[in-house]
Symmetry: C2
Subunit: 274 residues, 2 copies
């Protein structure tokens, strides 16, 4: 159908740097008179040529399809659009999600997926992505404090739980690598994780694109992404939401678009992108 997801993503990050802009329409911060769809689409149109990826968070669209579709359409193919929905379910139900979110008619290029239900719950997403030139990012080591409750528990083999998830991500992704060498199955790895964890995860998943949340509001170290770069010096997306697309307190000021452009320039500086 279309180019391999990993190849498209790699071209974009090579050309523009590794920035992913989170689109989380928090009602109290939107411009007066605008809703999720309006602000989301305007922000997507504003940023789609300057970032590698946009990541609308479905929770902030009340799980409604129309408004989030409007955001994806506003990007108009200029960057990849990752629907952050963290889906995960047993086989036949995962197939239903995969048809909708990663089918040929989906406006999204990729989604985020939860691994708690295991390999048979990932398979329908991998299959749909492979068939339709799309991708997925599996939660491996998230950026929130609760990552320690389950993901960081130590197994009797002395590895943490998240390393086993990483092995699973590598195993299901390896048959689906693009010309760039990277897989359409990526991993969510928090920028807030200790560098040795990030380094280890890169060893275990040498070909997975990393989607790294935790920049800005969550306090992740901007330099931490360098540890995650793969042997070709890429394969990373640093995701910022509030600090990039809603960089103000309270309701949006009149010059909100300039503020967003300013926040992007600042983030590029902090990541050393010049």
């Amino acid at each position: 159908v279309s180019a391999h997801f990993a190849d498209r993503l790699s071209e974009l990050t090579s050309a523009r740097g590794p920035i992913c802009a989170g689109i989380d329409p928090r009602q109290a911060q939107l411009p007066v008179g605008q809703g999720a769809a309006g602000w989301g689409a305007e922000t997507a149109a504003l940023l789609a040529s300057g970032v590698a990826a946009l990541k609308p968070q479905l929770a902030f669209f009340d799980d409604e399809w129309g408004p989030v579709e409007a955001v994806a359409r506003a990007a108009d193919g200029r960057c990849v659009v990752i629907a952050d929905c963290k889906r995960g379910d047993i086989g036949s139900t995962a197939e239903a999600y995969a048809r909708r979110l990663l089918g040929p008619d989906s406006p999204f290029d990729a989604i985020t997926v939860n691994p708690y239900l295991g390999r048979d719950a990932l398979a329908p997403f991998v299959d749909a992505a492979a068939e339709n030139g799309k991708g997925l990012f599996v939660l491996v080591r998230t950026s929130n404090p609760g990552a320690s409750d389950l993901q960081e528990l130590t197994l009797e083999s002395q590895e943490p739980v998240f390393e086993r998830v990483a092995r699973l991500v590598h195993a299901v992704g390896e048959p689906h690598r693009g010309r760039c060498g990277r897989s359409l199955v990526g991993a969510v790895v928090g920028l807030t994780a200790p560098p040795d964890q990030i380094r280890r995860l890169r060893e275990l998943m040498p070909h997975a694109p990393f989607l790294m949340p935790g920049y800005g509001a969550q306090g992740g170290d901007p330099d931490a992404y360098r540890v995650a770069l793969d042997s070709d010096g890429g394969g990373v997306l640093v995701s910022a939401s509030r600090s990039l697309t809603l960089p103000w307190k309270g309701q949006a000021p009149d010059d909100w678009k300039q503020r967003v452009q300013g926040a992007l320039a600042e983030m590029r500086g902090q990541l050393g992108l010049g």
Copy 2:
């Protein structure tokens, strides 16, 4: 606002037995000319006085709100309605989901939640449920083969991962028990799990309602639910989807409502409910 979720659920299971009917509108099996909303609402209306709970699976409603809301409204308060959506996200995003799915205006009485992101990802759901007389069921040990990939891994403490999740479910649920003694925080425990796992999970979560999928199509032992009964001989929902609400091959026959009623009578017999 309304009675405690666990009290309502306990009254229903005492009066009617522990059956939860899954509403998964698989297009190829629906009556000719009916869509997800139409069949779902008719099935809900048909069963709401005969079962303790209905469980619409959001994946089969294409994540659209209108049709699944129609199903919940058709139940008209005659039983509890559990939205099977397996949501799980970091704190502020989980709050957005919780407002929508467990807020005072939500048509649902409870939802299913994924624990991979840890305690801070569960808290907003617990808070919203407590405030609005609603409940949640956290995935602990699912019914699918992939449960072994992550949930059944052995920790260095020699307990499996799912036991740590069970301890977390117990901890967050304990402050939220109803007059019946049960909590509004329940657990998803597959009927396909070995009896010793189910027994252990009941020990670790003495006050959690168990939602047990895996009956029928997934091959769970109908007697397995007895092991999960709590010290008052309740606290269990056995969930059946295809075998109960779509008990035919191909498109629905004309007498589909009698078939569903027949499947309910058969399931009651298999569970020894007379």
